[in-house]
Structure formats: C-alpha cells, structure tokens
Amino acid sequence: MSRQPCHSRRRGSSGRASLEFLVTGIVLFVPLLWGAIVLLEIQKASMATDAAARQAVRVFTQSTSLDSAGRRVQLAVASTLGDFGVSSPHQIDVECQPRSACLLPESWAVVTVSTDVPLVGIPALPVSIPSAVPVDGTAAAQVSSYRGIP
C-alpha cells in the first residue's frame, strides 16, 4: 500500500527529465548545429573567393593579350574554387583602371569573384530565411611598368 505512490512518483520524475532533454535538445542543438555548419560553409566560400580573386588578378596582369587573359582568368577562378570545394555558380567581374587602358603598363586591374552560399534548410521552420548568402572576394594588382603594349 505504501509502495504504490512512491513508485508512481519516480516514474513521473523520469518522464519530466526526458521531456526536458528532448525540448532542450531540439531548441538548443538544432540551431547550434545549423549555425555552425552555415558559418563554416561561409568561411570556406569567403577564403575560396578571396583566393580565386588574387589568383585571377595575378593571371590577368601577367597575360599579354585580352583574349588569353579572359580565358585564363576563368580557368584560374574555376580551378581555385574547385580546389576549395565550392561548387555553387560564380560570377567574375574584371575592372580596368583606367577603363580604356586594359593591360597597358601601369594600369590597374580589379577582379571581384562572387558566389552564393546556399543555406542548409530547416524544413519545419515556418519563418522564411534567405536561401543563400552572397560572398565575394576582391583583389587588385598593377600591370608592370616594363610590360610591352599588348
């Protein structure tokens, strides 16, 4: 007779603890894991676009004709992003300063490589979050003063 309430009390206590574990687990750890994954993906894309831009601007300023420069910049960016494991589509923007003097001695080239990092979706989340984070990297370099006119 005196054993019965004691037994039920113990069962009730263990039920609350597992519920607490479940709720805390979901409320705390799903966002934590999600945030960690997203931040690491953004870090990777940020390092990759920065590296690609620096490699591309070097390749561009070392080239002797605009034709080969454009082709080699695309190759350099694609190989760099691939090396870093960034597979999302990217845009390359090459800007010459001054605008009319591309690849002339002492002119500047500014290369911007941008890509979108797709976010891992949480299916059950009713809030609309942006599905991708834009990341870009920019690098500038000057064409050598001793370069022959292309």
């Binding site: 934590l32 390749v59 190759l75 870093f84």
Partner: protein
C-alpha cells in the same frame, strides 16, 4: 541530464573546431602552392610560406609534415602542396590521428 547536454554542446564545438582547422590548413596549403607556382619562386619557398602560415594561425606542431611536388591540373603542369597534420582532440592538443589536405595550383605559363 545536464552532463549529457554539456557533452553534446562540447561535441558540437569540437566538430566545428576540427573543420575550422581543416579549412585553415587547406588555405595555407593553397597559399604555398600559389606562391610556388610563380615564375620567380621555387617549390621550397612555397613550402616555407605554408609552414609560416600554419605556425602563425595554429601551432608549429601542425606544420611538421608539409610536402611539395609537381603534378597536373587538367592538362596543365601544376604544383601541389600537401599538409598532413594531427586531428585536434582537446582544443589544439592532439591525442593522435592524422588528417591530410592538399591544394594544387597550375604553374604560370608565358602568353
């Protein structure tokens, strides 16, 4: 219950740290390969840059096994830098295990 949740939290942080270390190692390897791919530099200088970057960002013990070799990317001759480093266990201190990252950059060609 609190202990289990704490262990879970530390586990998540640790996995993030390992991936972060991997990213750093790869970025450093790539920097070294890029530098080694230039006309005026040697493979040894590229390797030295990778070792410097890893020592500064993480610790000397992660820069013990850095190797440089020539390779191919597509059809282009290239330089590959490979880093083999311990897997961090507690913070950056490691009990064992090894991870390997490598980066390849095509050599500069005239034209």
């Amino acid at each position: 219950m609190g202990t289990l949740l704490t262990a879970l939290a530390l586990g998540v942080i640790h996995v993030a740290l390992v991936i972060h270390v991997r990213h750093i190692l790869h970025a450093s390897a790539w920097e070294g390969a890029r530098y080694a791919s230039y006309y005026g530099t040697t493979f040894a200088e590229g390797r030295a840059l990778t070792v410097d970057l890893i020592s500064e960002a993480l610790s000397d013990s992660y820069a013990q096994a850095v190797s440089v070799r020539s390779s191919n990317v597509g059809n282009q001759p290239a330089v590959t830098v490979q880093v083999r480093a311990p897997i961090p266990t507690v913070g950056l201190w490691s009990l064992g295990g090894e991870m390997s990252v490598q980066a390849a950059v095509p050599l500069e060609a005239p034209g």
